[in-house]
Amino acid sequence: MAERKLLYHFNRAPHGNIFWTEGMRAATGAVAGIDEHKVDLLFQGDGVYNALKDMEETESLGYLPSLEDAGVHYYVVDEDIKERGVGAGDLKDRFEVIDRAKAAALYMQADMNVDW
């Protein structure tokens, strides 16, 4: 299987479940190995809470260097942070704020997508 463009979308708030950690682990696996897939991470709905500066992410910190080396992008949907009273300044630096149209374009550009 050749390199593919993957979109991992996070729709759930962190903690109380394993989706955040498992999504990050899976993304790390996807960018590694023989195929070295290109991966974008999209945070929307309650998934935007994953992007908060103060969100405790000890369990997934180990994945960040590999994802950074692979050039993985972290996107968070502007409409969803505003709906929840979250400002762009409340987010970790690695997250880029995009609008819903750009999020839809990410789905169209991806060869496949996986929800977390």
């Binding site: 729709n11 759930r12 929307q44 709905g45 409409e79 819903r100 149209a101 999020a103 839809a104 374009a105 789905y107 169209m108 496949m112 997508n113 996986v114 929800d115």
Partner: protein, 86 residues
């Protein structure tokens, strides 16, 4: 562009994404049959027949969604890209 498989509670997000896809095939499954698709700008709405009938929503969805069975859903999934919001 693809099949949007929608259940609650994440289906509302899927509808917002599908709104940018004029050829969206929106499939309501399980409690997704309760989603309000009236704001959808384009595409076509399908609903799982079993899930609609068990919830007594046949009349509510009449004219709003095409009812399909699982063999049809599998054909759609195999033939197209799937955006999963379950």
């Amino acid at each position: 562009m693809g099949v949007y498989l929608l259940d609650k509670p994440f289906g509302d997000i899927g509808l917002k994404i599908a709104n940018f896809d004029d050829s969206a095939k929106v499939v309501l499954i399980k409690d997704g049959v309760y989603l309000n698709t009236s704001g959808l700008r384009g595409g076509k709405v399908y609903a799982m027949k079993d899930d609609v009938e068990k919830r007594g929503l046949g009349k509510v969805l009449a004219g709003k969604a095409e009812l399909i069975d699982y063999p049809k859903l599998i054909d759609m999934i195999v033939d197209d890209k799937v955006m999963n919001f379950i």
